[in-house]
């Protein structure tokens, strides 16, 4: 018996014991959900238990051949998580959990597919950033195909439906991450709008809906909005704009948690702040030794600083002024925590540096609201300042700074970092023959594609007109080349609508890295740029690796 067969037969045995386990675990979940009180106050402890059990189930069911059950468990986990995070609890939430767990029961009874656990099944789910699923219903199969191909090249998983009759049950039982729907008058999609509106009301997070139509009438747009449309596009579709809109829908759901740095010598109090803010889904770190404050900030990159006013040896305003001496930290709001109720002295502290005062004793809700609103505002402002308006990527100076930061980190942690310089081929011709509007679409499309395909921890900036820089931490040059080559092929497969029909574009890139054995860190950008030049000279539409500049063979 070879290894695969051996593993498969052993897995079958384990799957059987997992099946038996489900027979007790799911009724237990069901009992737990039914025991949740129908009070207005969220039952924290039992909800946590339920959330954690569902999380476990979401993680294990797929491995044992119950992927649908696993997905449903994940959805329920998120429901429970939301009730917890937002402290919102009512009979509807409770009922949703109970009904969902009943569905799990049905799925368990129906049993899993006959072949048992499928070792190929999880291929797609090992990616750190999971692929988003998009459903499409379009009466015109040509158009559906074009949309599907484009979205797939952006890394989405696309399912195309031929009829409304097939789409409706799929929406109910296997909710996608977004729906692209043809709502032209007389089409199947148009008839679906009302039932989608009803479905939206049953979900606690709206399903992003993009409506496409061959007419731009007010009535159609209104019914699309009522069904929860977040985008409306007229045929023939501008696919880059459509992708851009989808991207924006998703970003509003998965923004990173706010980071809060607490500077307080009172460890107990700091821990309490940490607990309160963490419960509102913020990431909190505490600095008890102010001498380490600036180093800590460089590593943690806080959105907000909570600062005790009175500490032995240092005052809050003194530390705040030290922070403000650094240009990089001008945008970070500093909120003082103090027993100071003398308004005049509060004002004096604010004049030196700092943005707000919270007076001790501090209520949990005031703390959360103050920090949240400050963090939200700071994020928006710094995004507007640091981001390029066309692409939403970092601007020249900011990406350069990220390059330096990541190289420094690579040398410290001995994890490789790769730098890629990317340039769209013959971009001037695009602008000249199709106009700047189309050129902008091409730039935006590449920006979105890069954002989609790279990991969240990777840094991405618009370096110049049609030039981009990507920083890939924990990635060696060879891997970076492979990744970029995939993106190159995907970009090359995109069709843009130009003034005289569809056209295609390509890009070239140069890659350099700071990695074993040499850990050469100087001139990485220049080396990447030189390789980009070589890629252009060798005929464009290709990736060229820089000489490692070290003793790697």
């Amino acid at each position: 018996m070879d290894k695969t067969e051996l593993l498969r037969s052993q897995l079958l045995v384990l799957a059987e014991s997992f099946r038996q386990r489900l027979e007790t675990d799911i009724p237990a979940l069901s009992d737990l959900a039914r025991s949740l009180p129908a009070t207005t106050e969220a039952p924290i402890e039992p909800l946590r238990l339920l959330r954690d059990s569902l999380h476990k189930l979401a993680g294990s069911a797929g491995t044992f051949g119950y992927p649908t059950l696993g997905n449903k468990a994940r959805e329920l986990e998120q429901t429970a998580r939301q009730c917890l995070d937002q402290r919102s609890w009512d009979d509807a939430c409770r009922q949703r959990l109970i009904d969902g767990i009943d569905e799990l029961k049905t799925m368990q009874k129906a049993g899993h597919s006959a072949q048992g656990p499928n070792p190929q099944m999880a291929q797609a789910s090992v990616q750190p950033s999971s692929a988003l699923r998009i459903f499409i219903l379009d009466d015109d199969p040509q158009s559906a195909l074009r949309v599907a191909q484009t979205l797939e090249s952006f890394g989405y998983v696309v399912v195309t439906f031929a009829t409304a009759a097939k789409l409706t049950p799929a929406l109910e039982h296997d909710r996608p991450d977004a729906l692209v729907l043809d709502v032209s008058p007389g089409t199947a999609g148009h008839g679906l709008l009302e039932s989608i509106q009803r479905l939206q009301a049953t979900w606690n997070q709206p399903l992003p809906l993009i409506a496409v139509s061959d007419q731009e009438s007010f009535d159609i747009q209104l019914s699309a909005v009522r069904a929860g449309a977040q985008g409306f596009f007229i045929k023939p579709l501008d696919l880059a704009a459509l992708e851009n809109r989808l991207e924006r829908c998703f970003n509003s759901f998965q923004s990173e948690p706010f980071r809060v740095l607490v500077v307080d010598d009172d460890i107990d109090l700091a821990q309490r702040f940490e607990a309160v803010l963490s419960s509102a889904d913020m990431r909190v770190e505490t600095v008890s030794d102010p001498r380490l404050l600036l180093q800590h900030m460089d590593v943690f990159m806080p959105d907000v600083i909570l600062m005790d006013v009175n500490m032995p040896d240092y005052s809050g305003p003194e530390l705040a002024q030290m922070i403000r001496m650094n240009d990089n930290w001008l945008r970070v709001p500093i909120v003082y925590l103090s027993a100071e109720t003398d308004v005049a002295r509060q004002m004096a502290a604010l004049l030196k540096a700092g943005d707000d005062f919270i007076t001790k004793p501090i209520s949990d809700s005031v703390l959360i609201t103050t920090v949240y609103s400050r963090a939200q505002r700071a994020r928006l402002v710094s995004q507007a300042l640091a981001r390029d308006s066309l692409t939403g990527l970092l601007k020249h100076a900011d990406i350069k700074e990220q390059v330096e930061l990541e190289i420094e980190r690579a040398r410290r942690t001995k994890l490789p970092v790769s730098i890629a310089m990317i340039d769209i081929d013959h971009f001037k011709q695009v602008n000249d023959s199709h106009g700047h509007g189309v050129g902008d679409n091409v730039i935006r499309a590449l920006a979105n594609l890069l954002r989609q395909r790279l990991r969240k921890g990777d840094r991405l900036g618009r370096y110049g007109g049609e030039e981009f820089v990507a920083v890939l931490p924990n990635c060696n040059a060879e891997d970076a080349k492979t990744i970029l080559d995939d993106i190159r092929a995907a970009f090359n497969a995109l069709y843009f609508s130009g003034s005289n029909g569809a056209f295609q574009c390509s890009f070239s890139a140069g890659v350099s890295a700071c990695q074993a054995l040499g850990w050469e860190a100087s001139g990485l950008l220049e080396r990447a740029d030189a390789s980009l030049y070589q890629a252009k000279a060798q005929g464009r539409n290709r990736i060229v690796l820089a000489d490692s500049g070290s003793d790697i063979p």
Binding site: H55, G59, T63, S125, S130
Partner: protein
């Protein structure tokens, strides 16, 4: 650098523990130590001397990040990559785990067939080999 041989797996769910053990032993040919809690892992560390630690994020008692923090206080773990395993999470959480010092995050449900190759790749990456 030597080859990856000894893998410690810390996970409270018995079914997942078993599946991972079989995958790592049968397919990967590794020597595997399965532990059902962070504490058990810490206790077994000195004796087992793992090359790599696979750590479940959500466990009752000491969870993954806490276990990692404990591990990092022990000098003998300096050169041991710790890989988190967790049910599908937001990309931002993955970044956060890596910031805490996880070498990589493997998403559940994992594929038993490819798990050994995955951690071998992580192992090579950690040691800066192509």
């Amino acid at each position: 650098m030597s080859e990856l041989e000894r893998v410690m797996h810390i996970e409270d769910d018995p079914s997942i523990r078993e599946v991972a053990r079989i995958a790592l032993e049968v397919v990967g040919g590794f020597i595997v130590k399965s532990c059902s809690s962070g504490q058990e892992g810490l206790d077994a560390l000195k004796q087992f001397t793992p090359d790599l630690i696979l750590l479940d994020v959500m466990m009752p008692g000491m969870d993954g990040p806490q276990t990692l923090a404990h591990l990092r206080t022990l000098p003998e773990t300096d050169n041991i990559p710790v890989v988190f395993m967790t049910a599908k999470v937001q990309p931002s959480e993955v970044a956060e785990y890596q910031r805490l010092g996880a070498a990589m995050v493997i998403t559940k449900p994992f594929d038993p067939m490819t798990l050994p190759d995955q951690i071998r790749a992580i192992w090579r990456d950690w040691h800066g080999q192509d």
